[in-house]
Symmetry: C2
């Protein structure tokens, strides 16, 4: 089927996301024009083969707006005024759409369909970009009721070219979804990490894998995350108030003297169990029962590879893997997540090959 | 140097921790007696080679108390009354010590030195036990001022036999440390996970690695964690109140209409950055600069092994590894954490071997 998306595509904002999209488009043979308030970014992205600087007085078929949240709406409006079809990769959808709708006519608004790829991380800038960044990642497509069918089709093809998985929802649904799946976890990770600044450095040696997992995303850029949280402020605040109620209940339970706190606290902990369970199961299929096998691995090039080569030869598929580093010795403990039914077999076979394992 | 710890050692509570300690002691040739309120546990642990059921009318040299937090103090008192040296593996130290001190004479208390190995996880029961469970893990030794030197020595040798790393601190220091490095992250993980129960199932498809990391420990046993949190209730409540203050500030910042919220929120996010940074660096050494390389890996036995064999041949040491599963396709994205200086070299060499990578 011939594509509707023929290009040229203008990528506005040659950071990590914009340059990665540009590289994927170039790989598909589509002409890409790059623009950025920072001309250094355009030069870098161009040198990576992500496209050419936007020529003056020409109009692209599609503009992909990939600028920080604070500048999103203004950039979308400008691109619509130029007469192109427009999408964006902003992490919040309802507020910017409203701002845009206030500033352009419905006829122009019809050429805009929002998007949000679930990719990117603590790194930034065009040097970190890759055509494979979106490979297999969900990409929300948040069309509004006035969108032209062709505008939707262009974004769907863009998602397809990037190798991502389209997920359709309304802008408001999207913002409620990411408030719980992204913004709230980020804030709580930050609060957990923040309390470590008050801990005696000598006490941090007791830190295990748990606190490392909980605080990982707290490493994200404060300025960028500040903008993201503000862009979804009403929804995030609502969810944070719900969490504060639960936190109040937990504090009350822990300070209760009548012995009734136990039940409340356990209910809160159970609720966490349930919520966590709703995340499990990969490939969108029902969760298969899996468990852990721990293996002691010396810390040197090739050791982890040797373990996984052995596991591969034994014929067991690794669902997940975590390396827990010994804080003081050159040895790591590797947690392999595998189908429960295969744990015994893998453990025995690895032991036979000389590995120290435990379940 | 001849050991002071000659046995027999009674392990009271043949669950995951108790049975693992018993197995490590047996491996070191020390006689182990097992007891548990659940005779099934003793049978299982015995069949694993962890020791023999405790003989009547004989006294062990050392009793290791490995029972749930709610029964800890009573079990320690009983063991001290029998005249043995006593340690425990409870996750909270000051409260139980106080309870014990209230019930025994100072002369008896001198034979008790508390301990807390940083191991164990969501699993439980003797079947999950292993002599290698504590290999390389920190193990807090929390002696009180009245402890006999020989009581301390016995616990130090136990830690050594288990292959763990002794970390000395007072019981009160310990409880403040774990409140921040373990109990608080657990509660916040549970609160983040709990909010997912209110999310539309269709929205959860937008869940990325971030929320998975933040909520992982929320899978822990609610009853056990309830007991742990209650055992450290005053300290945990204090830290939770501090977090509630920060949460209030975040909510206020997000709902501020005077534009002053931005600065407050960014300060909170910065504080999270700083706290997270204090956790980094493995082997207790200063953090070396490391970064990520992403590789697309088909989901089948041996594929991950092939990747790591290639990485091993290229000669790059993998610091950490995360598998991010595609929610809808049989493909995984693997994030390799390696020294920043080696990222370019590994990426190029893997690409040459046919892998799809990005930074």
């Amino acid at each position: 089927m011939p594509r509707v998306l023929k290009g040229p595509v203008e990528v506005l904002g040659a950071g990590l996301l914009g340059t990665s999209i540009a590289l994927a488009l170039r790989k598909a043979g589509i002409e890409v024009w790059l623009s950025d308030i920072n001309s250094e970014h355009v030069r870098t992205a161009t040198s990576l083969g992500a496209g050419i600087p936007r020529p003056h007085h020409q109009r692209p078929q599609l503009v992909v707006v990939a600028v920080p949240p604070a500048h999103l709406a203004a950039s979308i409006v400008e691109a619509l005024d130029d007469g192109a079809y427009v999408t964006d990769v902003g992490s919040v959808k309802a507020g910017p759409l409203e701002e845009v709708a206030d500033q352009v006519e419905d006829r122009a608004l019809a050429r805009y369909v929002g998007g949000h790829p679930m990719a990117g991380n603590e790194r930034s800038g065009p040097l970190a970009a890759s055509a494979a960044l979106f490979e297999g990642r969900p990409w929300a497509i948040t069309q509004h009721v006035h969108a032209e069918p062709i505008a939707v089709e262009l974004v769907e093809e863009l998602v397809d070219i990037c190798g991502a998985l389209p997920v359709r929802m309304t802008p408001v649904e999207h913002d409620h979804a990411v408030a719980r799946t992204s913004h709230l976890p980020h804030v709580l990770s930050v609060l957990a990490a923040g309390q470590l600044t008050d801990a005696e450095p000598a006490h941090l040696v007791l830190s295990g894998q748990g606190v490392r997992d909980v605080t990982r995303v707290a490493a994200g850029d404060p300025e960028l995350y500040g903008q993201i949280l503000f862009a979804n402020a009403p929804v995030v605040a609502e969810v944070l108030v719900e969490v504060r109620d639960q936190l109040d209940r937990a504090i009350e339970a822990l300070t209760a003297t009548n012995g009734e706190g136990n039940e409340v606290l356990e209910e809160i902990l159970m609720r966490g169990n349930t919520g966590r369970g709703s995340l499990l199961g990969k490939h969108g299929s029902p969760a298969i029962e899996s468990g852990s096998l721990f293996v002691v691995v010396p810390d040197g090039p090739g050791e982890l590879a040797r373990l996984l080569r052995d596991a591969g030869e034994i014929g067991v598929n690794i669902e997940d893997l975590h390396i827990e580093h010994d804080p003081a010795r050159p040895v790591g403990l590797v947690e392999l997540t595998i189908a429960t039914a295969a744990i015994g077999r893998l453990g025995d076979a690895l032991s036979e090959r000389g590995w120290t394992t435990h379940r």
